[in-house]
């Protein structure tokens, strides 16, 4: 199966080249060819943490540039892709990437039932903001709640190479949407260092990620309800003189989400439990399993037609049986402080549309705990020496 995913990765590259060549043709048929893009640049500062950089200085590493295209091959088949450039300091691997590149076949388009199949690098459609977390203008905050949308995991969670299915039904009691996907994401060494540890030298692979989600929008209701399930395995293979052993990782997440909309305000929330099991890695034959909890509540209020205020509170526990992280210093011989076991983030943001396609966003985050600062498996205790840390960010974004 891994070979299949590697092949699809190569195929995705070939398709992108084709897409790029088509993009270069001077005639663009508006009925069959659409292209859009966005560019966002900002400033941010994370004091007393390694979230953006290690020295706490004001940083311009808040650059996002995306170009996406959709090519309608027939009434039921489309090819779509997005090239993305990111510079987010310690948050992301700097450089270009293909966020998605897939063939979409609309298998059923009945008046009350739509079924779509996606093959290639598909988007993660299973969480409230997962499908567009990579697009600055569609995010409510510049930095999303990290309990669910952990930035170190961004490239692994935004999409995968494989197959996905979406089915939407109009029923008497409301609208039902079902999503299923199976795939895997290539993990470059720099990416795995951001997630696992800066000390690793071996190779990390995602064996598979299997997801299912259901969303219900009841008739005559202003609410939307959803549940999503995730099951994924990773492996780590050591190299000579590696301080870590071969290891296998299992991540399983159960998440519920909810959104309530009024004319001038909206609330949304996601709550999850995540099982993380590590077999080996720290030493051959060892096994460690813990269940993490996370939840956020995000509110928005439209101050005017052009301005929106956001308020968010996000809570994460790495181990539900050790919410204050007391076991961490004991298990690590005093190397890892207790505050790496949790993170609470309260954020206040403001968004203002200067022009119809030009937006300015600014926000402030107050954090307690460092449980959602990368790397995740072997944390950075040198830079993250404070239990409290704060972040502010300003970003200007344009789209077309």
């Amino acid at each position: 199966m891994q070979k299949l995913f590697k092949s699809s990765h190569n195929a995705a590259g070939a398709l992108l080249v084709a897409l790029g060549l088509c993009q270069a043709t001077p005639v663009i048929a508006s009925e069959t060819w659409h292209w859009h893009g966005f560019v966002a640049q900002g400033l941010m500062r994370s004091a007393d943490s390694n979230f953006v950089n290690n020295d706490g200085a004001i940083s311009a590493e808040l650059t996002e540039f995306g170009l996406n295209s959709t090519w309608k091959l027939s009434n039921t088949v489309r090819l779509a892709g997005q090239l993305m450039y990111l510079d987010g300091g310690n948050r992301f691997q700097q450089g270009g990437r293909i966020d998605y590149l897939f063939l979409n076949w609309t298998a059923i388009n009945d008046m009350d039932w739509q079924l779509d199949l996606y093959a290639g690098r598909y988007k993660n459609n299973h969480w409230l903001y997962s499908a567009t977390r990579d697009v600055a203008i569609t995010r409510p905050l510049i930095v999303l709640p990290q309990s669910v949308y952990f930035d170190a995991f961004r490239d692994i969670a935004v999409g995968s190479d494989g197959l996905a299915v979406t089915s939407t039904h109009n029923l008497n009691f409301g609208e039902l949407e079902l999503n299923w996907s199976l795939g895997a994401t290539p993990i470059p060494k720099e990416q795995s260092q951001r997630v696992i540890s800066t000390f690793i030298n071996g190779k990390t692979e995602q064996d598979f990620v299997h997801q299912f989600s259901v969303f219900l929008r009841p008739a005559q209701s202003k609410s939307q309800w959803g549940i999503s399930l995730l099951d994924s395995d990773f492996n780590y293979r050591r190299v000579a003189n590696d301080i870590f052993a071969d290891g296998d990782f299992t991540v399983q997440r159960v998440m519920a989400n909810w959104r309530y909309s009024e004319q001038d305000w909206e609330l949304s929330s996601e709550v999850f439990q995540e099982r993380v099991s590590v077999y080996g890695f720290y030493a051959p034959g060892t096994e460690r399993t813990q269940f993490g909890w996370g939840a956020y509540l995000l509110g928005s209020y439209n101050l005017s037609a052009q301005s929106t205020l956001y308020l968010s509170h996000d809570h994460f526990f790495a181990n539900k049986d050790d919410k204050r992280g007391y076991l961490l210093p004991q298990q690590s011989g005093g190397l890892i402080p207790a505050y790496f076991g949790y993170q609470r983030d309260t954020a206040l943001g403001l968004s203002h549309n200067i022009q119809p396609n030009l937006r300015l966003k600014m926000e402030y985050h107050w954090n307690t705990g460092t449980g959602r600062l990368g790397p995740n498996v072997v944390p950075d205790t040198v830079v993250n020496r404070s239990r409290h840390h704060e972040l502010w960010a300003v970003q200007l974004m344009y789209w077309f």
């Binding site: 009434n75 388009n109 569609t138 202003k222 309530y260 929330s269 509540l297």
Partner: protein
């Protein structure tokens, strides 16, 4: 403290669930029970072989999930400027969505590659002209606007 926080969240959810019930929504907004005679007209090209749609089907079309008419003709969706009063009224009364929800859905479609946004036209006159001349077209007009050479379809609750 954690139990208190979850209790507080539960209280918010319960209150919103009660406020979200259809009975309360109707009591709060008696105008919804009145005639739909002044709501924007839903208009299609004369070749579209559909006489009526349910509100859910109309929503599927405007959320760009339903992209083909039953006879195989591609659906061409037109909208008026998003800040216009007619668009806001159409969105809320016909689609039962706030305009920002509709716009957010179109942005998701556009930037996640799963669809394309509808075509925006500058005025009701342009809307009628495009519906008249574009096979598979669907749009909306003020309730008292002329609908010459276009077909008005009924929207069932």
């Amino acid at each position: 403290m954690i139990k208190s926080a979850f209790g507080f969240l539960l209280l918010i959810f319960s209150t919103l669930l009660w406020a979200d019930s259809p009975a309360v929504a109707l009591a709060d907004n008696p105008a919804q029970a009145d005639s739909t005679a002044t709501q924007p007209l839903v208009v299609v090209h004369t070749a579209v072989a559909v006489q009526s749609l349910t509100a859910a089907q109309l929503r599927s079309i405007y959320l760009k999930r339903q992209v083909i008419w039953p006879d195989g003709l591609p659906v061409q969706v037109f909208v008026l400027p998003l800040q216009s009063a007619v668009h806001k009224e159409f969105s809320q009364t016909r689609l039962k969505l706030f305009p920002y929800q509709l716009e957010r859905n179109w942005q998701k479609l556009t930037f996640s590659g799963i669809g394309t946004p509808p075509t925006e036209v500058s005025s009701a006159t342009d809307m009628l002209r495009l519906i008249q001349t574009t096979p598979g077209a669907i749009g909306y007009l003020p309730f008292d606007h002329e609908t010459t050479d276009a077909k008005v379809i009924q929207i069932k609750p």
